[in-house]
């Protein structure tokens, strides 16, 4: 759920952004720092705001100058930036994880399905993610601001002719995206572990989700993130390998076979690779992604 929220923002911005996962991490650390001073709930509001300001500043003083030089320069810039942000965070907060926790109100279980307890914290995260996503989708699709933003991303010249300040819209969109990544970080960091390479862990999956779902498609990204989450969860549970399957079918594979290592690989062992395999397959079979629009080559 969390990563689907991240993905939506990511694909909405239209720029491939390596630093996005870094903003997520930055959000977690800001949330931690503010929760130390003011408590968790103010942190949940202030952390996204501060990350958003950072994002807007990055756009204003970095990306804007690069916009004319094309996507590769932007990609390189955000790539370098992700290095710098990780190092800055390590400089300020150190390398080990920081003790950032959800407030005690969210401990305990919300309800029980059969014997499985559903933690209150997860419910809260889903609530936040759902609210933000819903609001975002509504705003983008139906409000005037959303229209202008979408138009500015796809037909920037025309929108500029109509009298809107397109660079400023880009800055605000980037800042808003960073703020939402920061919010996801402030929640996600508290739910899991807040450490310097939490961004790198989520970043790779993020790429897969966006590409599989189709660049620039909100719904595609949503379905792709659900699909990949399910794929991952199922693969981790199934502790079987092709060799087991062959044995069940009555044709066991000899352990002396040189490829036995490959055949005896269980699905749960292969789980970390599956998303990337899916990515490659999608790129081969359907390069524009599940729901992506055709892009000009």
């Amino acid at each position: 759920m969390l990563s689907s929220g991240l993905t939506l923002i990511f694909s909405m911005m239209g720029v491939l952004n390596f630093a996005h996962a870094s903003f997520y991490m930055l959000g977690a650390y800001c949330g931690y720092q503010i929760s130390q001073w003011l408590g968790f709930w103010p942190g949940l509001v202030l952390a996204p705001l501060s990350v958003g300001v950072c994002g807007a500043a990055v756009e204003r003083y970095g990306l804007r100058a690069l916009h004319t030089r094309g996507p590769v320069a932007e990609l390189l810039f955000t790539f370098g930036l992700s290095f710098v942000i990780v190092e800055l965070v390590q400089m300020l907060w150190g390398r080990p994880p920081v003790p950032y926790r959800l407030p005690p109100e969210l401990d305990g279980s919300l309800f029980t399905v059969y014997t499985v307890e559903f933690p209150r914290a997860r419910g809260f995260v889903m609530l936040v993610a759902g609210l933000i996503l819903g609001a975002l989708a509504l705003m983008l699709r139906y409000s005037r601001i959303g229209m202008i933003i979408q138009a500015a991303l796809s037909h920037s010249k025309t929108v500029e002719t109509l009298g809107h300040d397109v660079p400023r819209i880009h800055m605000l969109v980037f800042g808003g995206g960073a703020a939402l990544a920061g919010l996801a970080g402030a929640v996600g960091g508290a739910l899991t572990v807040t450490e310097p390479n939490m961004g790198a862990q989520i970043g790779a999956i993020l790429f897969v989700v966006v590409v599989v779902g189709g660049m620039g498609s909100l719904a595609g990204a949503f379905f792709a993130s659900l699909a990949i989450g399910e794929l991952d969860a199922f693969a981790k549970v199934i502790d079987r390998s092709p060799a087991d399957l062959a044995a069940a079918l009555g044709a066991p594979i000899d352990p002396a076979n040189p490829l036995y290592g490959l055949w005896s690989l269980t699905l749960s062992q292969a789980a970390p690779v599956l998303p990337f395999l899916l990515l490659v397959v999608v790129l081969l079979v359907r390069p524009r992604g599940l729901l992506g629009k055709r892009e000009d080559r």
Partner: protein
Amino acid sequence: MSAAKPVHWLPWMLGALLFVLVPVIFSQGFIRLLFAECAIMIVFALSYNLLLGVSGMLSFGHAVYSGFGAYATIHALNWIGRTHMAVPVTLLPLVGGFGGLLAGIVLGFVSTRRSGTAFAMITLGLGELVGACWLMFPKFFGGEGGISGNRTVGAPLFGVPGWNLGSDLQIDYVVGAWCFASIVGIRGLLATPLGRIANAVRDNPERAEFVGYSARQVRWLMLMASSFFAGISGALAALNFEIVSAENVGALRSGEVLLATFIGGIGYFHGPILGAVVFVFFAVALSQWTQAWQLYLGLFFVVLVLRAPGGLAALLEHAGVLLGDVSALRRRARVLGAKAAAALIALCGFILLVEMTYYRTLEATGGSIVRVFWTDIDTGHAGAWALGCLLLTAGVLTFAWLRRQELAAWEPASTSVSVGDAR
């Protein structure tokens, strides 16, 4: 256009001389430590630039090819050790090269279908794919500890007893020789029609297709060539360190080569060589003095992307043009000097602040004294922080002011330098 160009022998002779002399002159110590690593990184960065600079393909998974080369080499090495084959280990980088080439043929078939950002994403995905594989195939990748080997096995080179890579000097020479051969090879490749067509595909794929070349095939061929040389660099690393682990194929290594190549300058043949040397300086030398070397490296890279996309090689060419033009130099000497001074002041302040912060965060148990710029500074003292802030703000403000003053004077000099051709 390229046929009539005379070959400049002088830089090549000097380069060869450097490769011969450096290991002997600096028989121990710091430079020696850097030599082999520099040579390995040079080959790696040059092979990377075959993609990025020459063919316009931004790859985030280049370590896959060098990693495959490294694993192929270490497995071959261990195989020689087991079977006592009379094969000189010196020739093993060829095995690494073909290992990389194999990976390039297979993965390149997938990735070179697209170009631009799509290509970048596919390589990123493939890089992560292979990087995630190491847990699944512990036999091949060696699990957590990696695979180690012994480079002194096999037949001695030319049958001379003792020439079996036992000493550091010998491995330095072998690595240096392979590095030089690779430089010559890559330079030669760029002079072939394939190298020129790769330029054309980078600049205008549609036109290249109209002339009759398949842009995809050209990209694929270039990726194969690049992965071959990357494999050689991986093999050299395997021979030098005698251990190969999952780090050699990981995303971090791919990022490193991107940084090194871009810092040097992707538009010039000598750019990646320069970048590799600077990168190794950052990674090996600077990391002994400061914890924050990655921060400095990252910032350096970001500033270069923003302000000097041609990299260090372009900056050097700029400086060369400026030095050759005495009147322009005289006009701009004062402004340039003032700008350099302002930047230096800001840099000092920044480094001071960074070092103090790092020290407080990471090594707070050792007291509050940190050594910066050969002086002891008390991080518990507010004055030190104020000094750092003051230097930084003053430097940045002065620099911004000078820049505004100077923008008008900048135009003639910057337009007189054309962007370098990737040759």
